[in-house]
Symmetry: C2
Subunit: 256 residues, 2 copies
């Protein structure tokens, strides 16, 4: 058991019929569990609920009054059955307008990728009033934080990238720092050397987050540790590996 000075707790809500029908096997619970453990946050309860307004609202209100933090995954996509933002707005009793910043993030990505703006896609820019955005480095459509509730995507790689974006804003049992390194080579190339470095630095968590929907390959490596010195050592080692791999591949390093 971790021994934080004050006990920091969390509840999680997994939203989606596809998990309850068995069609999709959840992996986000394990990811949030690992994430909380790393930060010294005590994940105390998880609920999986269907895509029904009442169920989501009830779970959100039950858990947000009980725990320091609530994390949700799922239901923030562009289709009619993605109703998480609506449910959160209802749970907090606030409006759900198109958020200008979220719309700008989405439109910037859509312009890059030549994606048509339509009503369904713009649903993803609807953010409850008073919420802060959670950056989505993978596919642009942001999550958001309102009160102590953090609303994230259900797609595992996007959810994990959102967790990384969140980490610095959370108060854990111990302080964790992170370093982000951008790459223009694919995960298949980075995987082996990164795994070797992860084995060399088991106390520094190394995550890899490919960005989707771009014309060029872009992978963000995120290193996280509560030990600043070790984090600096590991970052130097990963940077050296990344520079070397780009040189061998004849690819320019992306601008930070």
């Amino acid at each position: 058991m971790t021994q934080p000075e004050t006990r920091v707790t969390a509840g999680m809500i997994v939203i989606g019929d596809e998990i309850l029908s068995g069609r999709t096997k959840d992996v986000n619970i394990g990811a949030v569990a690992d994430f909380c453990t790393d930060l010294g946050i005590d994940l105390t309860e998880v609920r999986v609920v269907s895509d029904e307004m009442d169920h989501i609202v009830e779970a959100v209100n039950a858990l947000r009054s009980r725990y320091t933090y609530v994390f949700t995954s799922g239901g923030i996509g562009p289709t009619h059955d993605d109703i998480t933002a609506d449910a959160i707005a209802q749970a907090f009793g606030v409006a759900l307008p198109i958020n200008a910043q979220a719309r700008a993030m989405l439109e910037a990505r859509w312009q890059q990728t030549g994606t048509e703006v339509n009503e369904a896609r713009l649903r993803m820019a609807r953010i409850p009033e008073g919420a802060d955005l959670i950056v989505n480095s993978v596919s642009a459509a942001p999550g958001f934080r309102i009160g102590n509730v953090h609303v994230m995507a259900g797609v595992p790689v996007i959810m994990r990238a959102m967790l990384e974006a969140l980490a610095p804003t959370l108060q854990g049992g111990k302080k964790v720092s992170s370093v982000s390194i951008k790459c223009a080579v694919g995960e298949g190339t980075l995987g082996g050397p990164l795994a070797a470095l992860q084995a060399e630095f088991p106390d520094v968590k190394m995550g890899s987050y490919p960005q989707m929907g771009r014309d060029k390959v872009m992978v963000e490596l995120v290193l996280r540790s509560s030990d600043e010195a070790r984090l600096a050592q590991a970052s130097a080692a990963v940077r050296a590996m990344v520079v070397d791999i780009h040189q061998k591949a004849g690819v320019a390093l992306p601008q930070e």
Copy 2:
């Protein structure tokens, strides 16, 4: 969506600190979800709770009043932190004596395997008063059913075997029949031909349940379908495959 004549619902409770800490990644939610879908039961909510009495009792009482069935996994082993039986007894307000039938099942297995009877192991024979046992074909220690709550092991292969044992006792949206075939050759040998037959009969679910803690290899194959004719065809094909494999291996077929 399935269209049963009457809607049959279920809630699930996953019990265990190891899931919430991330040390163990849950796979039982997906298994119960698939199981319910196959039976036409609508899995409506899942909760993951820690190994704390109050949390388990609260979740059990919340879900058993809400859904047709409740399934739990985890916390029925021999160690001090296995408190599911205690929590269920408390939730139902009944005693938790050593159950003679459960004790006999365990002692029969322990005699076969030369396992010492001790106090910790006998914890596994403590069953809430008024409960029926759920047979555990893998490691003998039974689960149990009390009211509409079905209490199962957390080890995935054992939980799945208990689901198979349960299936005939549940009222689903459509009737599902099952056939069980015992084998004395290992899963590594059965796996390929069984997968081929599963591909040939996609509408007949085929499960494989190795039994642990025996001196001889023993695998139970379970076939399940709502279509009696297809189940009979598939069973005949699997039986022929099993006979053939035993002959080739020079191993006698186990007594049914």
